[in-house]
């Protein structure tokens, strides 16, 4: 009975209900996009650090976990390697450069990463033999770049770097392609640490010891993270230690950006609750006489409430369905460089929340409907 009435009413007023489902669909699209954008932006910021082959990151003391303000001489590597629980450690240098093209295409700003071949920090490859020595003119490009430019193993790339007042060009051979590892929205290319030291923008002058920005530390399998993290700064002077999560949160603007987007998402959901609530409440108010009549001829409160709930759930389901599908189709038409990322947890979380806004928003109208007295059918009230 409740299902029959709920469906008949929707069907005979399908224009109105569909319109309302479309409103929910648009809210769904908005929520999913904000979620995907938050995911995409977060990803573009954190991807490099997140994927770095390391259990622990070592920064210069008081660098606030900022790679760019951290300077670590490679001579410290030996000291760190000696600490108990450390399996291996590798230097990671980070600077920026531009990839240029002989055919006149516009150059691409990239993050130039220096690592020691075979040490922590050297990325795992999807294809190619990888870096061979500390000073070879070889490069691993990440998938972001290889996809965008169309590079494959064996190709030559030209890197432009500013040293002093001179712009220098270096030619490198692609020896590997790794997965997507953007650093602050820039694609990364990874070169041997000494090559990196030679290429990176610098004021010039006499090169001394190679200075990396951070060290990637791998722990031996038995080692306790906390113990090593406390031991390291005690044994080695002038360093601070962090895990990846802390390092990510320390990325400038990262937390603020994510908070802003999450606030937007929550507010959009709240607006959704209000919109659904308002719609069904107005609809219930318009039906007071009719609901009173139904109760007067023997419809129970429970059936009236169930009927209202069924309608709310159906309309919400349809709206969220259309919205999710629409979002999916829309993103397929997007060019690759828009930072949106659909991750299963966030998407299903958002869809779950969206499905809940219907019943939550509808609670008021269900309550209202169940409070209508059958007496109203004959124009009386108690």
């Amino acid at each position: 009975m409740p299902l029959y009435l709920a469906i008949k009413e929707i069907w005979r007023n399908r224009g109105r209900f569909l319109l309302f489902s479309m409103v929910i669909a648009l809210i769904t699209t908005l929520v999913l996009f904000i979620a995907a954008l938050a995911g995409g932006l977060a990803n573009a910021n954190r991807q490099f650090i997140e994927k770095l082959e390391a259990d622990l990151l070592v920064y210069q003391e008081n660098s606030d976990l900022q790679a760019t303000s951290s300077r670590l001489g490679v001579s410290k590597l030996k000291e760190i390697r000696r600490v108990e629980g450390v399996a291996d450690v590798g230097p990671v240098g980070i600077s920026s450069a531009t990839m240029v093209f002989p055919d006149g295409r516009e150059g691409i700003d990239i993050a130039l990463i220096g690592v020691e071949p075979g040490k922590p920090g050297d990325p795992p490859l999807q294809e190619g033999p990888g870096l061979k020595s500390k000073r070879a003119n070889e490069v691993i490009v990440d998938k972001t770049l290889s996809d965008r430019v169309g590079l494959s193993v064996g190709d030559a790339v030209i890197i432009k770097s500013t040293q002093g007042i001179e712009e220098k060009l270096f030619e490198l051979e692609v020896v590997g392609i790794t997965d997507e590892r953007q650093y602050f929205f820039q694609p990364t290319i990874t070169v041997p640490i000494e090559t990196w030291d030679k290429f990176r923008p610098q004021a010039g002058g006499e090169p001394g010891e190679v200075i990396a920005n951070l060290f990637a530390v791998k722990l031996s399998s038995s080692a306790d993270f906390e113990t090593v993290a406390t031991d390291l700064p005690r044994v080695v002077d002038g360093i601070e230690v962090s895990n990846k999560q802390k390092a990510i949160l320390a990325i400038p603007g990262y937390t603020a950006q994510q908070n802003t987007l999450n606030t937007q998402r929550v507010f959009t959901l709240l607006i959704g609750v209000l919109v659904v609530g308002g719609f069904f409440q107005i609809q219930t108010l318009q039906k007071v006489g009719q609901i009173g009549m139904l109760k007067a001829i023997g419809s129970s409160n429970r059936n009236v409430a169930i009927s209202a709930l069924i309608q709310i759930v159906l309309v919400t389901l349809l709206g969220v369905g259309i919205g999710s599908l629409g979002t999916l189709l829309l993103t397929l038409t997007f060019p690759g460089n828009i930072p949106i990322l659909f991750n299963a947890t966030t998407v299903f979380g958002a869809i779950g929340a969206l499905l809940l806004i219907g019943p939550i928003g509808g609670l008021v109208s269900i309550r209202l409907a169940s409070k209508i007295e059958p007496l109203t059918a004959i124009g009386l009230s108690s």
């Binding site: 009975m1 029959y4 009435l5 008949k8 009413e9 069907w11 005979r12 007023n13 006489g289 009719q290 009173g292 009549m293 139904l294 109760k295 007067a296 001829i297 023997g298 419809s299 129970s300 409160n301 059958p374 007496l375 059918a377 004959i378 124009g379 009386l380 108690s382």
Partner: protein
């Protein structure tokens, strides 16, 4: 004829403390199966409250109501809902039909609620509508029906599940005179044919033409009960719409039912209550 409905000293008092209003004052009436009764009276006479109590929508402050084998005062909310669904047929002044159901679906709704929507039920619903002259409107939505047609659909709905009592709240209030007569005439013949107990609340005395008994209420009390066909016909014929309208708007005289009716009466009107 067996008694379908009986009330004993039914009283309804609204409000509490010093500001109470006695809407229905010790009303005792009886309606038999196959009997069509008009409950008449001006606004505020308590006829609607009486109707609400008969329909188990309102609980009497005191007194008893018996319908079939049930005593309404003994029922809880759930039982009253079930009682209304099974034992009562109802037509209303407004909001009579579910707007998104067709004429046939509206009638079938009553059967659906009572789990009687089988083949015989469906046939009964269809036949009732045909009998009421709506054979070609079965699949029309209420918005596509005139006021009189809607009222007739409501009558079909009120009868289709074979209730003990059929209650009609001002069934003619939104109809023109001709249609009003048609609707009440059909209503009356169906009540008689199907042996239901019918009670129609109306302020239009002309509609009493088709009833077996007129119960007049004033100030919550039953002031007159006319069950003589001659008296009723005189009452119905001598009541102009204007007269009945004035009668509804507010009366000042005790003699609300026109004197002509009383003068022609062999029996003196007993003022009860």
């Amino acid at each position: 004829m067996a008694t379908a409905l009986r009330t004993s000293e039914v009283t309804k008092i609204y409000g509490k403390g010093n500001s109470t209003v006695t809407a229905v004052d010790r009303v005792s009436i009886e309606v038999k199966k196959g009997e069509f009764v008009a409950l008449v009276g001006p606004s505020g006479s308590g006829k609607t409250s009486m109707l609400a109590m008969l329909a188990a929508l309102l609980t009497p402050t005191s007194g008893r109501i018996y319908i079939g084998n049930d005593e309404l005062g003994q029922m809880d909310e759930k039982e009253r809902t079930l009682f209304r669904r099974e034992k009562i047929g109802f037509t209303f002044q407004a909001n009579n039909l579910v707007p998104y159901l067709t004429a046939l679906e509206n009638v079938e709704l009553m059967l659906r609620m009572n789990n009687q929507l089988d083949k015989t039920g469906k046939t009964r619903a269809r036949e009732l509508l045909v009998r009421l002259g709506l054979g070609d409107k079965l699949n029309n939505l209420p918005a596509q029906l005139s006021g009189g047609q809607q009222q007739r659909v409501a009558i079909a709905r009120a009868l289709v599940h074979r209730p003990e009592v059929v209650l009609a709240d001002e069934p003619t209030s939104s109809l023109d005179t001709e249609r009003a007569f048609q609707v009440v005439e059909t209503f009356s013949s169906l009540i008689h044919e199907q042996k239901r107990a019918g009670i129609m609340v109306t302020h239009d005395l002309r509609m009493t033409k088709y009833v077996d008994k007129v119960i007049q209420m004033i100030d919550g009390k039953v002031t007159r009960v006319i069950d003589d066909p001659v008296q009723i016909s005189i009452l119905a014929n001598t009541s102009s719409f204007e007269a009945s309208d004035n009668y509804a708007e507010g009366y000042s005289s005790q003699l609300v039912i026109p004197m002509t009716a009383a003068n022609n009466s062999r029996l003196a009107f007993g003022v009860t209550g």
